[in-house]
């Protein structure tokens, strides 16, 4: 099966600075993959490149069957990016914001209302201006915008940041449910305990490169993982299959 995300020696520039210096990454449909690494490792840039927001200038970059090097625009409608910036308008209410972004993505009113209900914004908060919300409530509004567009690929940058425990659990539940419905999730996070418990695989990045191959997240038996195309190829060419690799250190 074609991978949802296929990056091979992908190089991406931020201005003249090579933010990704040769990333290899394959993500299969229904997988939750955690991108791990120090600040400046390129985690956010990988997510933005997969969303078609950062141009990939060398290597292979195919997301949801669209070649990002040829034209990144067709993929954008099918991904949902939850980043540090919320993309919300402070002067508009929560309902106005979710309705605007939902309608912009072609969502029908039912999907928009359902998205708000899923993150608990259908009550008192719906008519509050976003400028008056706490950071966690803004994050939930952003999440509702993402849910309304029903993306095939979820790109979550530090998704648990600023959320209380209850909302974090709620978010994890939503991610799990999306994956059950066929979505694929790529997470960049520093909150490793929580993110690792959610992820099927962990990929280590440093200096804009993949420094350790994907390994199963702690507590996830390899047999339960969706099989990525790379793993399929590796399995067919090598036997017996090697033990999950340790994460290497970066010189």
């Amino acid at each position: 099966m074609e991978p949802v995300v296929h990056l091979r020696a992908a190089v991406a520039l931020l201005g003249r600075f090579p933010a990704l210096a040769g990333i290899d990454l394959d993500v299969a449909r229904g997988e939750i993959v955690l991108l791990r690494g120090p600040n400046g490792a390129g985690k956010t840039t990988v997510l933005r490149a997969c969303a078609g927001l950062v141009p990939v200038v060398r290597g292979e970059a195919v997301v949801l069957g669209h070649d990002l090097r040829r034209d990144p625009r067709p993929v954008r409608r099918h991904v949902g990016l939850l980043g540090h910036a919320t993309g919300l308008f402070d002067d508009l209410t929560v309902a106005d914001n979710v309705r605007f972004w939902g309608r912009a993505c072609g969502a029908d009113p039912g999907d928009i209302a359902a998205a708000m209900a899923l993150v608990g914004l259908d009550g008192r908060l719906r008519d509050v201006s976003v400028g008056r919300l706490s950071a966690g409530q803004r994050r939930r509004t952003s999440l509702a915008c993402l849910l309304a567009r029903r993306p095939e690929l979820w790109l979550l940058d530090e998704p648990h940041a600023g959320l209380d425990h209850e909302t974090r659990d709620q978010l994890d539940g939503l991610i799990g449910r999306a994956v059950e419905q066929g979505a694929t999730v790529l997470i960049a996070s520093h909150e490793l305990d929580r993110a690792e418990s959610l992820a099927h695989r962990v990929v280590e990045l440093a200096g804009g490169m993949t420094v350790a191959p994907a390994r199963p997240a702690p507590g996830v038996p390899p047999a339960e993982l969706p099989v990525s195309p790379t793993q399929e190829r590796e399995a067919s060419s090598a036997s017996p299959s090697p033990a999950p690799p340790e994460v290497s250190h970066v010189a």
């Binding site: 078609g52 990016l81 540090h84 993309g87 993505c105 915008c145």
Partner: protein, 222 residues
Amino acid sequence: MWRDAALVAGRDLRVELRSRVTTNQVAPFSVLVLILFAFALDPDRQLLERLASGLYWTAVLFAALLAISRSAAIDETDGVRDALRLSGIDPAGVFVGKAAAVAVVLLGLEVLLGVGVVVLYGVDLAGAGLVVLAALAATVAVAATGTLYGALVSGLRVRETLLPLLLLPVLAPVLIGATRAFEAALAGVPADGWPWCGLLAGLAVLYTVAGALAYGTLLEGS
């Protein structure tokens, strides 16, 4: 494209309505400009009447700079541009929507300033048809150009000061055309004003088409 334009125009107007920046700051500012002109030229009442058209459109342009700055700022905050790119909205629709919202705000300000000119400068209204059409064409031209240049300077640290510097020379033909058309209408010789009105209509079409074509590139590049 039209659906996207209506969506974006509705959003921008709602933001203006909720923030009340236009009613609480831009409108008082533009009236203040008219009053300052009146103070400066008051000893010569005839001169004030004769210059009313030019002073009116100068005040409109100053107010337009603020309205355009506001409109550009809506899409500059907190990842809105990225969200727009991800949404799949037609960039031409974004441009038309934003320009339409600016035009609506400007039309409101023009009515207010029109009342101000009549009250403060003692101008007698005449040639209503020409005044209305010239004002509409000039407003579309100003809104389209402003929206395009607002996107051009977005993301730059010096955008607030750079925008007027770039925009005002481009809007000079609009200022000249609108002033001449108004002068002709108020002087009771509308026939002299229609060619200027035609020029304004041409500029409006030119700037709108150029903006709709270029906005996608600007959105990607910002």
